[in-house]
Amino acid sequence: MSITDLADLSPSARRTAEEFLSTTPADLRDDLRAHLLDSLSPAATDADVRSVIAALGPIGDGTARRGLRGRLLGIPYDFTAPTWDKIISRTWNPADPRIWQPHLFGIGWTPNLGAIAARLGLIEPDAEDDPLTTAPLSPAAILPAAVATMAVLGSAAVLGRSLPDRVGRGWRVDGTPKQVGSRARAIAGSIGWTAGPTAAVAAALAAGAGTTPAQRRNRAGAVVVATAMATGTAVDWLGVVIRARSGRPQPWVGPAAILAAAGSVFGILLTQARRGRRAEQDRDLSGPH
């Protein structure tokens, strides 16, 4: 539950928030205040306020910040810090009908998977008051990354020795490799880029439910990024193996890696949104509250 005024905070938390706002450029203050109100609950401590402030990154001069974000010839660009909060708000916002949002970092667009889910009728635009913050992360959120890791480990164990000493890495549009490297390095890299993110997902889940919307949203953002890395890497490894064994270019790998990453992230976020909807319904439909 977010707050509507800084007065809803405890005296020490309110002092920290107001001190922070007093140091920010005047043209950013309203947006920053709105972000604090959105990210904090009435129970937020002084530490929670500092955590939300820290996640914003350097505020700096308003003019410089404006230059980091905008549009050029109709194409959006955003070079502000890619915080977990920003990742989630751009990639899962069912209430916003725009499927394409400004890219998380860089030039271009990124898909708003929440808008896609709403258009497909898989979730209501207002299923949750505050997306992905109502219910704790489902333990099942680790499944895509874990499966990706197991697939890489298993295939490396079974097929690794049969691969040539040198294998192609990276992908061009026509499916030919960008570079050629050692088999051992390819295996180690694939295991590292799946097991590492899986461990990150496990850590986010083990960290607990989180007490503030900002904490829950940050953890969801971390899980999303880690899952995309793990599943994309697993498909990339599959392509390395098939190409090495067949000797032929595999142009499907790039698009498949993107689809695998997007699909697994979509599944996690949709599941989490439905859990949040169920939590809200249980709260409202179970009797007086």
Partner: protein
């Protein structure tokens, strides 16, 4: 002399400014769910909005503390999320209604004098 497109753009800006007041006004009568608000506003062509507009608007009003949401069982189909005015929302609606009355009466006087 503004062309039709400029006039339509101006009208669109006016509508954007008052649709919040219209939504608060509808909710003052009774709690409603999102698509119900879209259907109700469709009865007033000058204020008709799409489903893509109503949910960001409701989210904004809820974060401002003017409305609150509650899931409720539906006579047909799955539960629905209903929106209702908060006490703060009722106060804001009264103030906005007064401001609107003042603006429209002043503007009507000006337009009558000019015609």
């Amino acid at each position: 002399m503004p062309n039709n497109r400029e006039t339509e753009a101006w009208g669109s800006q006016i509508r954007k400014g008052v649709v919040e007041l219209a939504v608060l006004g509808l909710l003052a009568a009774e709690p409603r769910y999102g698509s119900q608000l879209v259907d109700d506003l469709a009865h007033y062509p000058a204020l008709a909005i799409s489903a893509g507009t109503i949910y960001p608007l409701l989210s904004r009003l809820r974060k401002a503390g003017l409305i609150e949401s509650t899931w409720a069982e539906s006579p047909v189909g799955p539960p629905r999320k209903y929106y209702a005015l908060t006490p703060t929302g009722r106060t804001a609606l009264t103030a906005m209604t007064d401001a609107w009355a003042e603006v429209t009466s002043t503007l009507n006087r000006i337009l009558q004098e000019g015609s």
